[in-house]
Amino acid sequence: MNDHLDCQQLLSSISDFVDGELSPDLCRQIEQHLTECENCRIVINTLRKTIDLYHHQPESEHLSQEIRQRLFLRLHLEEFLNRSSE
């Protein structure tokens, strides 16, 4: 494999790279490329940040009582509505 990786090649591996799924050899080539290429550094940092921000989405906790109630009615399970949810 060519030791010198261009921006286009980096871009097609970028997703696997941030997931840590590339071979050590390819990782090394990418890291080498990143030391020399400001643009690719920005792309990779902003890609990581993008994924991070989506990971930080607040988890909405529980269904509201109204939604749960309508669901149980629709499923004809209304007799179990008053049981505390587990």
Binding site: L11, S12, S15, T50, Q57, F72, L77
Partner: protein
């Protein structure tokens, strides 16, 4: 969190298949939060998400006698929910790009370095990145993804499923999932770069 992380040991699949109503109610309580949240991510609309929620459990209850247990119950429910969500989106926008041409090709074309926005907005302060307005933008940006890419992104990056789980759930190969994930992430990076690039300019002028 993965679909596997819900304790389903406490449910009796045997009872569910026989239509035991008490057990069905327990199943609904155990999985409804997750199904609703997933639906909300797909549709970005509480009413639509509730429709998907109801349809998912209706379908599941009808299909349970046929459930063979080849996948776990949670994966099975997730698959129904994803299909319901996609079906609803398709109904609302029949012209929606469900298949994006050429996506099974090498990712070269889609991942072209031409036209990449190169604003380095990582340094923006957290309260800017995590503001309510930014959150709304993030949610809307997902809705701009073609449905095929959106499914992969939601399951992998929002729900935290593995590549293998995502592939299994959507009936895709792992290579396919990776290609779509790459395209989805680059698309969203581009959207966020446009948005936060503007923020960055304003912030630097302060």
């Amino acid at each position: 969190m993965t679909v596997e992380s819900i304790p389903e040991i406490s449910l009796s699949v045997e009872a569910l298949r026989k239509g035991d109503r008490h057990e069905l109610a327990r199943m609904v309580d155990l999985y409804s939060d997750k199904v609703y949240r997933l639906a909300l991510k797909f549709t970005n609309n509480p009413q639509d998400a509730e429709d998907v929620l109801q349809e998912t459990f209706l379908k599941a209850m009808r299909a349970l006698p046929e459930f063979e247990g080849r996948s776990s119950l949670s994966t099975w429910l997730y698959r129904i929910a994803v299909n319901e969500a996609l079906m609803l989106l398709r109904k609302q926008k029949p012209d929606m790009a469900l298949e994006t041409p050429g996506e099974e090709d090498d990712s070269e074309e889609s991942a072209s370095s031409n036209g990449l926005i190169l604003a380095d907005w990582c340094c923006l302060p957290e309260d800017e990145l995590l503001s309510e307005e930014s959150r709304r933008f993030l949610d809307e940006a997902i809705q701009r993804l073609p449905a095929t890419l959106r499914s992969v992104f939601i399951l992998r990056d929002l729900e935290g499923l593995s590549i293998r789980e995502t592939a299994e759930l959507l009936g895709l190969t792992e290579t396919n999932v990776k290609t779509r994930l790459l395209r989805a992430r680059l698309f969203l990076r581009q959207q966020l770069s446009r948005y936060f690039g503007e923020r960055l300019k304003q912030w630097e002028q302060k």
